[in-house]
């Protein structure tokens, strides 16, 4: 990428859009701790609800810094929007939660009824990819039905309407806690991250990251610099100050502090340079491309997509 000479003008009125995903707390901490105050004074933060919301923010130029599942910026880049991936902040947060004591491994899922969410979207694709690798045909060997959101799947589990569901965080933690209050025993039977590791090397899935619009990098190299220096300490603070982090999440992301805090162990936050784990990211992208090329807009993103942290 061509970078213009550094300008002395800070970016004003930046709206940071966070993915509705617990790992976003890293970027929130960075903002709240004043890490971006110099480069982007008055930056505001808001969760986006769906990709339409995100797309409108990006196209209008209101938002140029986001956290997001990493297939989204790749897809947008392939559609001609110059998006760049700076860092991975979540190494996966999917698990199979069940009340069925007979389920311990993927193989045990055969013949069971399972509730999934976001059909054909990333969580579903990850599950299907792993299932294939485990020798299970998700369309034939298991009875997979879908609901609209993880909240509904969690609700069904808690209410006893379903025995097994694929869940993300924090709904998985929330479901287990709520069921516990009524004496129903739910547990995380399978970590999809572990399962992934058996087939793709490391037991982690680079799922969510921080991405920017190229124009933001051009306008304010200082902001990029601030992100580079601030993200890792923000993560460290979150892991070290769990209670405060949960309060922060409650204030800015409307999470429930108790659930958030417990869920911290399971959503695998980390801060890793995109360029540094490009091979792992591409493994993930290829797995998705195999199953559903349209998810990424057909191809791998170009070289300039990956930024160094």
């Amino acid at each position: 990428a061509v970078t213009r000479p550094a300008s002395a003008h800070p970016v004003s009125g930046l709206e940071v859009l966070g993915a509705p995903n617990a790992s976003t707390v890293v970027l929130v901490r960075l903002i709240e701790s004043g890490g971006l105050a110099e480069a982007a004074p008055g930056a505001t933060f808001r969760l986006w609800r769906d990709t339409d919301d995100l797309r409108a923010g990006l196209v209008s130029g209101r938002s140029r810094l986001i956290t997001t599942p990493i297939h989204v910026p790749a897809n947008l880049a392939n559609r001609g929007l110059p998006m760049r991936l700076l860092a991975i902040i979540s190494m996966g947060h999917l698990s199979v939660v069940t009340a069925d004591p007979s389920i311990a491994t993927f193989a045990d899922l055969a013949g069971k009824k399972i509730v999934g969410f976001f059909k054909n979207d990333m969580p579903d694709l990850v599950f299907r990819t792993i299932a294939r690798k485990e020798g299970i045909d998700p369309d034939r060997d298991i009875e997979l039905t879908y609901v609209g959101t993880p909240m509904e799947a969690a609700q069904m589990l808690v209410a006893g309407q379903a025995e097994t569901a694929i869940l993300n965080e924090p709904p998985a933690t929330g479901a287990i806690m709520m069921a516990g209050q009524t004496g129903r025993a739910l547990r995380r039977a399978i970590s999809l991250q572990q399962a992934w590791g058996r087939h793709f090397g490391k037991p982690r899935i680079p799922m969510a990251g921080v991405a920017l619009h190229q124009s933001l990098i051009d306008d304010s190299p200082e902001l990029l610099a601030a992100l580079r220096t601030g993200l890792a300490p923000a993560k460290d603070w979150v892991l070290a100050n769990r209670t405060e982090a949960a309060q922060l999440a409650e204030r800015t992301m409307q999470s429930r502090p108790a659930v958030f805090e417990r869920s911290l162990d399971h959503f695998n936050i980390d801060v890793v340079s995109a360029a540094a784990i490009r091979p792992e990211i591409e493994t993930f992208y290829r797995a998705i491309l195999d199953l559903s090329p349209a998810t990424l807009g057909g191809t791998l993103p170009p070289d300039e997509f990956y930024l160094d942290l």
Partner: protein
């Protein structure tokens, strides 16, 4: 105005809409609004590839099934409520509540009763259609001409004749537009319920297209649903509209 002129003007209106769309596309770019031509091309591919048929069948079943059930229930309750004032007064706020409760509240119930796949989209449609048709039928009954009712009583007309010869023709004046509105809602709500629900039908395909951030594909599916709605309106309601007031 005859049927041909009406059709021509209707086509002109739709053409105007297409022009507005094209203008929007030029002004805002493909990431916000893909070109109508591109969308139409995508739709053609969809149809030719055979993907459209099954999705369409599922959505049509959801929309029309829910519409039919909701319309029959709504019309029956509306007529009964119109003829029996206390019943009508009791039902009116209930239907407003049913109408005003956002679908998220129903989703829980629907999931529970019908499971994630099955009938929950149809149920959501029913719940939307029922109050609309109720209101139309209710108003149709209330607005009928008392002078004609007296005439029928003076001739000792049995209830069935009154219904057929007096009530229904006057009712249709209010019921038909309600049915048309409800039909349009039925398609929209069926699609939305599928988008938010188990991922079947046109709505499921839209959800997938959205997950792919593929706007042209999303709009192609929407276009298909709307085309079907217009076809349905023409096929189901126009004949009734033409026959309205033609009853003996």
């Amino acid at each position: 105005m005859n049927a041909a002129a009406r059709l021509a003007w209707g086509a002109a209106g739709l053409a105007g809409l297409a022009v507005a769309w094209e203008a929007g596309h030029r002004a805002l770019g493909p990431l916000v609004l893909p070109a109508p031509a591109e969308t139409a091309a995508t739709l053609t591919t969809l149809i030719l590839s055979g993907k459209a048929g099954p999705a369409l069948a599922v959505t049509a079943a959801d929309a029309l099934g829910g519409w039919l059930a909701g319309a029959m229930l709504g019309a029956a309750l509306g007529i009964a409520g119109g003829l029996l004032p206390p019943l009508g007064a009791a039902l009116r706020p209930v239907t407003i509540v049913i109408l005003g409760v956002p679908p998220i509240a129903w989703v829980v119930l629907a999931l529970l009763w019908f499971g994630p796949a099955g009938l929950s989209a149809g149920f959501t449609v029913l719940v939307t259609v029922l109050p609309i048709v109720f209101a139309g039928a209710f108003q149709g009954i209330l607005a009928r001409d008392p002078a004609l009712g007296e005439m029928a009583r003076a001739f000792g007309a049995p209830p069935l004749l009154k219904l057929r010869a007096l009530i229904v023709p006057q009712l249709l004046d209010h019921l038909l537009p309600a049915l048309a509105t409800a039909l349009a809602f039925a398609w929209k709500v069926a699609v939305m319920a599928e988008v938010l629900g188990g991922g079947t039908g046109i709505g499921g395909e839209i959800a997938t297209a959205r997950a792919h951030l593929d706007l042209a594909m999303t709009l192609a599916w929407v276009m298909l649903a709307v085309a079907l709605l217009l076809a349905c309106d023409a096929a189901l309601l126009s004949p009734v509209r033409r026959r309205a007031r033609g009853v003996a």
